[in-house]
Symmetry: C2
């Protein structure tokens, strides 16, 4: 069951410059940053608010680490902008199975590792009205509201 | 001061079909619907979660009421997908003025009326890394958590 907007994923060419834009324009600070080699991205999570299910909503700023990564290819085609949206759930496996059963293509056979140790999968944008849609189950520590340090 | 992800605006060709997709796939229900003639859209707000600032986060599904509306022109160019993101603030006038002072183009001279009686303005996507960005101050009743009826 999807209980929150977990994050909005924004693709950019220059992560440091984009982080600085969100900081200087809106006052949003980096909550966490990491490199996800499997996804081919360097990313920064900006925490915007907490949510009524005990989680939080973030902006996820994404810079590709290689041109042939999914985000690298997307940027080459579309330019900078909103890359995907993500809903939070307590059980990504169960929800992905249910949604697959409703005829929506789920891109991974099994969930993979996302930001801050979360487990994630994606739904095909062509089955979701043009919206690349991610499902996220936060890591247990994040799910219970413990703060992550800034790791960069 | 921006204190929440207020909504994600998603442009579609057929609002009823898109509402049905979000209901049958994820279980999200319509919280409110309306026609905004000034913006040239018919829209449905799906409430996803409440937020730590006393507000809420929504998906806003948008169907143009005329081809020459901003959303109509955007759809003709881009097809269906994420049209904009919106941050909630207690004072859209003050924040818009401050952000304009930082060199970001604000599209309206004065905030206009958005969903559920809110006051809104938009920032130029070219100044925001390709992201059309809205600022929203909810109407007083919505700000204090009173439920809106479904109005269609």
């Amino acid at each position: 069951m999807l209980t929150r907007i977990d994050h909005i994923g924004i693709a950019c060419f220059d992560l440091d410059k984009t982080v600085e834009f969100y900081r200087s324009t809106y006052g949003f600070e980096v909550f966490h940053s990491e490199v996800n080699e499997e996804q081919g991205v360097r990313e920064a999570m900006l925490k915007i608010n907490e949510t009524s299910d005990g989680g939080a909503s973030y902006l996820q700023l994404l810079e590709p680490t290689r041109e042939d990564s999914p985000v690298g290819k997307w940027l080459a085609k579309n330019g900078e902008g909103v890359h995907h949206i993500a809903f939070g759930t307590g059980d990504v496996d169960a929800d992905a199975a249910e949604i697959r059963g409703r005829g929506v293509r789920v891109l991974y056979e099994e969930p993979r590792t996302g930001s801050m140790g979360s487990r994630i999968t994606f739904l095909h944008p062509k089955d979701c009205g043009g919206v690349l849609t991610e499902l996220v189950t936060a890591a247990p520590t994040a799910e219970h509201g413990q703060e992550h340090g800034q790791e960069h």
